[in-house]
């Protein structure tokens, strides 16, 4: 075993007889394949079908909401709100999500009943995450700077021009359950 490692070390250390250009081209192509494959793989874990694999009942719920069906046909999928768009933040979230694979293996939410029992826990965790990043995933589309208060309803303006404008509150403080059914809201601020 040690001998094998030693030989590998020697191979890696000694200069190759291949031309410099050849090595560059190989490295370049290899890089494209590796990086492309990596990103494609990661994007595959951002699709609705992938999320449904474990979270089927909750993925179904979005269909009644404005983020699924609306007048202009623009829609959001799971990852638009639940996975950061910024690349480094995305990687961090994806690594955290590897913990969720354990939950999948243990069947933590494998039945509708188990899922309903855990719903409040899951929702609270997500609200906390959104509050901490100032509802970044909402703001990827709904940017405060471009809100036209004259186009908004009276009730919206009174909230957006005060609490949201001052930064005292963030989107998710009021907009809970906009794409899902709510868990038991007893004791939640504002309910």
């Amino acid at each position: 075993m040690l001998k094998l490692l030693k030989r590998l070390w020697v191979i890696m250390k000694s200069p190759s007889t291949a031309s410099f250009g050849f090595i560059l081209v190989i490295g370049f192509l290899g890089g494209i394949i590796f990086w492309g494959g990596f990103n494609t793989g990661m994007e595959a874990t951002n699709t609705e079908a992938f999320c449904s694999g474990c979270h089927a009942p909750i993925v179904k719920e979005i269909r009644e909401t404005i983020h699924y069906s609306n007048r202009s046909g623009v829609r959001a999928i799971c990852s638009d709100c639940h996975v950061p768009h910024n690349w480094t933040d995305k990687i961090v979230r994806k690594v955290q999500a590897s913990k969720e694979l354990v939950a999948f293996a243990m069947g933590t939410i494998s039945t509708e009943e188990k899922f309903q029992a855990r719903r409040a826990h899951l929702a609270n965790r997500e609200w906390k995450r959104m509050k901490e990043n100032n509802s970044q995933e909402c703001r990827n589309c709904h940017q405060f700077e471009f809100m036209d208060f004259s186009e908004q309803g009276k009730r919206s303006v009174s909230q957006h021009s005060t609490a949201l404008a001052s930064g005292e509150k963030t989107c998710v403080d009021c907009h809970k359950g906009i794409a899902h059914q709510l868990p038991n809201m007893e004791g939640i601020e504002g309910w």
């Binding site: 009276k154 059914q181 709510l182 504002g190 309910w191």
Partner: protein, 154 residues
């Protein structure tokens, strides 16, 4: 020749007139010739569906027409959840939140149980707001209505 002509003429008159005659018969056969709100149609006919009426996002408070009428909802309620877990209406209209949200408080009568006991929060029988309070679309009344509210509400 004459006989044949007469026969053809008679046959054609019967042939031409019978569909019209049977149509009239069909029209009056099932509905008794009574025209309903949807017009003089066979019961089995399917009308073209009316366009859905849209609820305005916001409107003026809607006046009550009689004393006991539950006030109507003067805003859109799309996506509002009122169920065992959550009550979106009470997130603004409850005693706790109404002040901060600048919304109308629900009446204390909503705290009363069927037997007249006043509870500390909304009575279960009054929890489902949309059972009595509904939104109002800008829709033309189907029939003329001459109802006028009592003097105190005018």
């Amino acid at each position: 020749m004459k006989k044949i002509l007469t026969a053809i003429l008679t046959a054609s008159i019967i042939a031409l007139s019978s569909p019209a005659w049977s149509n009239d018969d069909a029209l009056t056969s099932n509905n008794g010739g009574v025209s309903s709100l949807r017009g003089l149609y066979e019961i089995s006919d399917v009308n073209k569906a009316e366009d859905l009426k849209r609820v305005q996002r916001e409107q003026q408070l809607i006046d009550r027409n009689y004393v006991q009428q539950p006030p109507m909802i003067p805003h859109s309620i799309r996506g509002y959840q009122v169920n065992l877990n959550a009550n979106k209406c009470l997130a603004c209209h409850s005693f706790k939140n109404a002040g901060e949200m600048g919304a109308t408080k629900i009446s204390v009568t909503h705290f009363e149980t069927r037997s007249g006991t006043t509870l500390s929060d909304v009575s279960p029988r009054r929890y489902f707001c949309l059972q009595c309070h509904v939104t109002q679309a800008d829709a033309k009344p189907l029939v003329e209505n001459t109802f006028t509210p009592v003097h105190s509400l005018r």
